[in-house]
């Protein structure tokens, strides 16, 4: 959960769903857990798109297709390329736990919902905002070659499509970048800064 983030180079899972809400990322019935067990949440990731009511894999869904079904490991499927407005709706951080539990380390999209973006950062998953044209180029490259690699370099804040060599700069504030690169969370920072609170 608190893995330091520097560079990630990996193949990607393309989830080209616009406005993919956190109810889709993790259905409400999986919110009943009182722990953060990564396996439990990883298994619940995109559950109702991956499995039908009988628990059978839905073959049409991208994560069940042979090029994208392998669970993430170093260099493989550690990055999601997502449709716009990723993570809208419910504030459930369980969605970020599901993404982390599945083994994903970064999500690339043209836009993120505000609460979910904060949740990703607090779980040491990097939300990478790119232009809609770069996002489409990534979808295109992955469609042409599922082995397409993408490099995310946090220190230089660049994301590179290895297939085309195209790069983009992505935004992140200096504070959060430092936290991610050093595995520090906000609670540690806040506790050092509570001497001057209002009465």
């Amino acid at each position: 959960m608190r893995q330091k983030f520097n560079k990630v180079q990996s193949t990607c899972i393309p989830i080209a769903i616009d406005n993919c809400n956190t109810d889709l990322i993790i259905p409400a019935r999986y919110l009943a857990s009182t722990t953060r067990d990564p396996k439990f949440f990883g298994d619940a990731f995109m559950h109702d798109l991956r499995y039908d009511a009988d628990g059978q894999a839905i073959h049409d869904f991208i994560m069940n297709q042979k090029d994208f079904s392998e669970a993430p490991r170093q260099g493989v499927h550690e990055i999601i390329v997502a449709g716009q407005n990723w993570g809208s709706g419910s504030s459930r951080e369980h969605a970020a736990w599901a993404i982390a539990g599945y083994g994903v380390r970064a999500v690339i999209s043209s836009s993120f919902a505000d609460i979910h973006r904060n949740n990703l950062l607090n779980c040491f998953i990097l939300p990478v905002v790119v232009s809609p044209s770069f996002q489409q180029e990534l979808f295109q490259s992955i469609a042409e070659d599922p082995q397409t690699q993408v490099l995310i370099d946090l220190p230089s804040q660049t994301v590179t499509n290895i297939a085309t060599g195209h790069s983009e700069h992505f935004p992140i504030n200096g504070y959060k970048k430092y936290c991610l690169m050093n595995g520090l969370d906000d609670i540690d920072f806040l506790l050092k800064n509570i001497d001057n609170l209002p009465a």
């Binding site: 406005n19 109810d23 409400a28 919110l31 009943a32 109702d48 407005n85 419910s90 951080e93 209002p198």
Partner: protein, 469 residues
């Protein structure tokens, strides 16, 4: 030393005023450390936050500013909660006891949905910063507060430090000018705005609602409107407090009393956007353009007037998404939904679980009968609301019309308790989300106002409430 001509001070927005008053520090090249007046907790998004405190050996910094209550898992009948729900509710009770936090237990008179109970008890007051691990925390902004949904890591931060780190959002003002038409409620206004703004159209913004239609809106209506702010991606939704706000809050259990009340009101009257305040974005709609609304797709922005036909977006850029939504809903482009048979209706949730919503529902079903093909779930948002329904005799009107009043709960809004809409069934609902599977795996949801839900409940088909007023 100031030889430069000072810049004219720019007017500030309501949001700026409340935000600025709570800034502890602006972190260099980072977010703002914001002081939080009120934290609400429920059973679903708090257990892991308490674990964080225990793991780090921390205590709760200001437990008196925190209030907890179970709502998502509570059943709306006398039946037992689901076992997984019991585990979460027990955890909340245990954690509150361990850390000295007020806890309104299931089945007690103080319990209900947080976003109904907070304003109702006077715990949410003008000028406050309010957070909760729940996206519909935006509701509380209706009293003139900055209220935001947060994640569980942030819940832990507030427990430990009474602060969060947030990037200051941009500001937007949405004006609704003019008088609302007969049969048009705050819910319809919200659904109209969502359709115009789209589901992600206010991402990155805090939205202030203003204009004559808002000034004339009841407190319950304002709470409904603010509730739905998150459905266009807005970080917060708020309304300047006025005499309607003060009349609603006066005498509430936790509101200031006596001289303290008078002083508070005097201060709260300053909580308005300055006349020369500049918003990053400003949008104005005409109240007369708004009809009773229904949704047809699988996000709250995909809606239309109840008597319109579903648009045909084939050939447009978002064709694939549009067709996927209609396929799930089992609708076709161009279809008129009036007259479509429904299976379930749901009145309740933090969106429409207040007394005014039950009065509206009762005004339509009075002297009529529930359609036999419809299963109706009528779920008050709190025990206070439920008592008020009984005190006003609304329960008798409902009973005569063939409806049963249930017990306070989030109920069928999110399929975490026994109230789940079965796969394939169509539910016309006053809740806030028509997402795929939201009311149960495979359930199909149409969002509407209490009036439209009531009209539909008695006819058994999607009905324009204006025909029944």
């Amino acid at each position: 030393m100031s030889t430069f001509r000072q810049q004219e001070p720019r007017g500030r927005t309501l949001f700026d005023k409340i935000w600025d008053a709570h800034v502890v520090q602006n972190v260099e090249d980072g977010p703002t450390q914001l002081y939080i007046d009120r934290l609400y907790l429920h059973e679903v998004t708090s257990p892991q936050a308490f674990d964080t405190l225990r793991d780090k050996g921390l205590k709760v910094l200001r437990p008196k500013q925190i209030f907890a209550m179970p709502d998502h898992n509570t059943p709306s009948t006398a039946s037992e909660p689901l076992p997984v729900g019991v585990r979460q509710m027990e955890a909340l009770k245990r954690n509150c006891k361990e850390f000295g936090i007020s806890h309104f237990d299931m089945g007690t008179k103080d319990n209900g949905i947080i976003h109904v109970v907070g304003p109702e008890k006077g715990l949410s007051l003008p000028g406050m910063t309010i957070v909760c691990g729940d996206s519909h925390t935006s509701t509380h902004g209706a009293v003139g507060a900055v209220a935001m949904g947060i994640g569980t890591s942030e819940v832990a931060q507030v427990l430990a430090s009474q602060c969060i780190l947030q990037q200051k959002p941009k500001t937007m003002r949405i004006n609704i000018e003019g008088e609302l038409c007969k049969g048009v409620t705050a819910k319809d206004v919200a659904l109209y705005i969502m359709a115009k703004m789209t589901t992600g159209g206010a991402t990155g913004y805090a939205v202030e609602y203003a204009g004559s239609a808002i000034r004339n809106m009841s407190m319950e209506g304002r709470l409904t409107l603010s509730n739905l702010s998150i459905e266009m991606g807005s970080r917060a939704g708020l309304i300047a407090p006025d005499d309607i706000t003060f009349a609603y809050l006066k005498g509430r259990e936790y509101a200031p009393k006596g001289e303290a009340w008078d002083k508070a009101v005097e201060a709260w009257r300053q909580l308005r956007s300055d006349d020369d305040a500049v918003f990053d974005k400003e949008v104005t709609f005409n109240a007369q353009d708004i009809a009773p609304r229904i949704t047809y797709g699988t996000n709250p922005g995909e809606g239309m007037a109840v008597d319109e036909c579903i648009p045909d977006k084939r050939g447009q850029a978002d064709e694939a998404d549009f067709l996927a939504q209609l396929q799930y809903m089992q609708f076709t482009p161009g279809q008129r939904l009036l007259g479509t048979p429904v299976d379930y209706v749901f009145l309740g949730a933090c969106t429409n679980g207040r007394i005014e919503d039950f009065r509206a529902f009762a005004s339509v079903v009075k002297g009529r009968k529930k359609a036999p093909n419809v299963v109706a779930w009528l779920v008050p948002g709190s025990w206070v609301v439920r008592q008020q329904i009984i005190d006003e005799g609304i329960d008798e009107i409902l009973e005569e019309a063939g409806f049963e009043l249930r017990l306070p709960s989030c109920s069928a809004c999110l399929a975490m308790n026994p109230d789940k809409v079965p796969a394939g069934k169509l539910c016309v609902s006053t809740s806030n989300r028509n997402f795929v599977g939201r009311q149960g795996p495979g359930a199909r949801t149409i969002l509407a106002s209490p009036l439209t839900v009531a009209a539909t409940a008695v006819t058994g088909v999607i009905t324009d409430p204006r025909e029944m007023l």
